[in-house]
């Protein structure tokens, strides 16, 4: 066991300084990632044995939910009411809302179902900003090149090119929905750099970019013709005779019943998987981020990609405990804040790609140069006082959310550094889509974090908010158009695809001991909550009392 310096002692040793040089010994070395990044932990991956990705590597914990049995079967459907619509959107984050708004605008009847409150999502928590090439010395081509470079090669180039091309228009669309951005004295959009960008390209609203985006989109949806079903997690997709997607089974947390929603197109926008706490990491993600969309799409036969790579954001709060994992935006490092070990030394160039910075922090802690925060948690300093010393007032002006987080933590980040450790942040891979957001299953569209390909194996800050609106709008429009396509008469819906999937599981001798989607992290004890007795229990959850 490595022993790090206890928190109280380390904070006594810390002195605020405006400038600190990067020691030349801080060269990360070739094998930094291999040795310290959680994506390289031995045994963390297995090969999938059933489904469209059989044979592909996948994180063990994700494989568990992908290769699980359904929560429901045909019997649950018999008594459930049926509703019909043109487009069903599943997920109420930025991707889902923009898809729903555009589908409704194109004239489709739209139902938007979301697990919890509309807007409870990863989107609302985004801080740093959104990328779009709008400055004179920047071009979409540079944005594209940076995205491809940051992705370590294995990127879907068509998707990336589409996303960067959509960038400026996405910003206009957001402003037209009523979203504010930080502007300079002439009313121009302020931009800043982020790790891996060759020009200032990140647009933002304080460190509340996602909050501002989400409250505006939520309000826009509430004020549109979209019918919102909140507190209604989807538990399964429906298929028609040809195996195409034909709707979904929703469970209501308000009246504890199932409903069948038949739809001509379904758009899955369920976001990420942080709350699976891969490799035991804390997470920056919202409560409902447990990979449901991946499970639903996979069972219906959709092909996924890059299931073995995840983004660990370098700066998650490591102290105090009750806010552990909470994100501190990369914007703080962009503004020049240092990372310091317990001896107050810098140990990596703070603006290197996220995977490198995260690995370097893990290394410092693993080798005893970190700070021990108790609860088995260690970390290093994010030297916020350094930027305040260089530009007094910057914290209040640019990072009100961080200041608020500081108050809640009993720490004034203007005077005291924050203790941080990498936090599980983003699912790089996901459902394979084309430029319109269509998955490999007809009738099924997927947009947002649930998808893969756009960022390859590593995402640049600010590209995700761009992705969700760019492809959200595209999928919404396309899904609405499809409604009037040939042969779109309402078909018979069933759970036929489940039977096939179960057969595969059994043939592969999979244990069938688990059911998914999980809907909530295990510690919320949803399956044991007597409030939800009307819904089918996940009977196979171990009853540990």
């Amino acid at each position: 066991m490595t022993i790090n310096i206890p928190y109280d002692e380390a904070i006594r040793r810390y002195r605020p300084l405006a400038e600190r040089a990067l020691p030349c010994t801080a060269d990360p070395g070739e094998d930094l990632l291999q040795r310290y990044h959680p994506d390289y932990i031995a045994d963390r991956c297995i090969q999938l044995t059933v489904g469209a990705n059989a044979g592909d590597p996948c994180h063990r914990q994700l494989a568990d939910v992908l290769q699980s049995d359904s929560r429901i079967d045909e019997a649950d459907l018999a008594a459930s009411p049926e509703v019909e619509t043109d487009v069903l959107v599943i997920g109420g984050g930025g991707a889902g809302c923009s898809a729903a708004l555009e589908a409704a605008r194109a004239g489709a009847r739209v139902i938007l179902a979301t697990k919890l409150r509309l807007g409870d999502s990863n989107t609302v928590m985004a801080e740093g900003g959104i990328q779009a090439s709008i400055e004179k010395d920047d071009t979409p081509q540079m944005h594209y090149d940076d995205t491809v470079k940051g992705a370590s090669g294995q990127i879907d180039r068509t998707l990336a090119a589409q996303m960067v091309t959509d960038g400026p228009d996405v910003i206009r669309w957001l402003i037209q929905q009523g979203m504010q951005f930080d502007l300079d004295q002439y009313g121009d959009l302020l931009t800043r750099r982020a790790g891996g960008t060759s020009a200032p390209r990140v647009l933002y609203f304080r460190d509340y970019t996602g909050l501002e985006m989400m409250r505006v989109l939520r309000e826009a949806v509430f004020n549109s013709d979209v019918e919102v079903w909140d507190y209604c997690p989807a538990v399964e997709l429906l298929s028609d005779q040809s195996g195409h997607c034909a709707g979904a089974v929703l469970s209501s947390l308000k009246d504890y019943t199932y409903s069948l929603v038949k739809a001509k197109s379904v758009i899955v926008a369920t976001g990420g998987i942080g709350r699976l706490h891969l490799n035991g990491f804390p997470t920056s993600n919202h409560f409902g981020a447990v990979g449901d969309g991946l499970v639903l799409a996979y069972r219906l036969g959709a092909k996924l990609r890059d299931l073995d790579t995840f983004q660990y954001h370098p700066t998650g709060l490591a102290h105090p405990h009750h806010l552990g994992g909470t994100l501190i935006t990369e914007g703080v490092r962009s503004a020049g804040a240092y990372l310091l070990n317990a001896a107050s030394e810098r140990f990596i160039d703070e603006l290197r790609p996220r995977d490198h910075v995260a690995a370097a922090i893990i290394r410092e802690c693993a080798e005893g140069r970190g700070v021990d925060a108790g609860h088995g948690q260690s970390g290093v300093w994010l030297d916020t006082p350094s930027i305040e010393l260089r530009s007094p007032g910057i914290m209040e002006q640019r990072f009100p959310k961080l200041l608020h987080l500081g108050i809640k933590s009993g720490i004034d980040p203007r005077q005291q550094p924050m203790l941080i450790y990498p936090t599980l942040h983003y699912q790089n891979g996901g459902v394979i889509i084309n430029r319109q957001g269509a998955s490999t299953v007809p009738g099924l569209y997927c947009v947002g974090e649930v998808c893969g390909g756009v960022h390859g194996r590593n995402r640049l800050m600010g590209n995700s908010l761009l992705e969700i609106i760019s492809f959200g709008r595209r999928a919404g429009t396309t899904a609405a158009k499809r409604v009037h396509g040939a042969g779109m008469r309402q078909k018979k819906v069933s759970l036929e695809h489940l039977r096939a999937f179960r057969r595969e599981l059994m043939l592969a001798k999979m244990p069938l001991t688990q059911q998914s989607p999980l809907l909530f992290p295990e510690y919320a004890k949803f399956e044991k909550d007597s409030d939800y007795d009307g819904l089918r229990r996940n009977t196979r959850v171990a009853d540990d009392g």
Binding site: R117, R206, L253, D529
Partner: protein
């Protein structure tokens, strides 16, 4: 610090007596004590506005409203969760406002109650983000939308102010309207507009 973390705090949440380590939030304490909790949980980071709670602290009769995910437990606290936040009462679309001259009239059409504000301060007291909500409503009623909106940068749309208002004003939606019209009518960044124009002309193609 590790020693202190082991200290147990006794409190009551939703009528249940609970002991939990002092480093936990109200939501975490419930989970820790073995009670399920799904309703009213969201981002767990103070930005989604789902986890609204009433709190009465030991030795006090005052009840305050806070966000359960940000609230550290304290000895003798009595906490109860509120039900789901409700959607707004009114609907409007920005596109139906023909130009910025008409915003004020439209505002009073959409939010006729706002002018009835009796300055009771209920909304401001209830706001867990310490926003001067009452002031915001007052500014919006006067047509000073940009200033009104500025006050609500940290608003998480928890709807507590809406629930508190005796005049059935929805201060948070008044504020959001104010913010949205400001962007919709007044955000015209020349750097963005230049770029859009260039792209419209087909310059700046991306080569894969």
């Amino acid at each position: 610090m590790t020693e202190a973390a082991k200290k147990l705090i006794n409190l009551r949440i939703n009528g249940k007596d609970i002991s939990a380590p002092e480093s936990l939030s109200v939501i975490q304490a419930l989970w820790y004590a073995g009670y399920p909790r799904v309703k009213g949980v969201g981002c767990l980071q103070g930005v989604c506005g789902s986890c609204r709670v009433f709190v009465r602290r030991a030795d006090s009769n005052e009840v305050s409203t806070e966000l359960g995910c940000e609230l550290l437990i304290e000895e003798g606290m009595d906490v109860s969760f509120l039900i789901y936040p409700i959607p707004p009462y009114q609907t409007y679309s920005l596109e139906e406002i023909p130009n910025s001259w008409e915003v004020q009239a439209k505002f009073h059409e959409i939010f006729p109650e706002a002018a009835q504000c009796r300055h009771c301060g209920g909304c401001t007291t209830t706001c867990p983000k310490d926003i001067d909500v009452e002031k915001g409503v007052e500014l919006a009623v006067k047509g000073r939308f940009q200033e009104a909106g500025e006050l609500f940068v940290q608003c998480v749309m928890c709807n507590l102010c809406q629930t508190a208002c005796p005049e059935l004003i929805t201060p948070n939606h008044v504020a959001l309207f104010s913010r949205r019209v400001t962007a919709y009518f007044h955000t015209r960044p020349s750097n963005l507009i230049h770029r859009l124009e260039k792209m419209r002309k087909g310059q700046l193609q991306v080569i894969e």
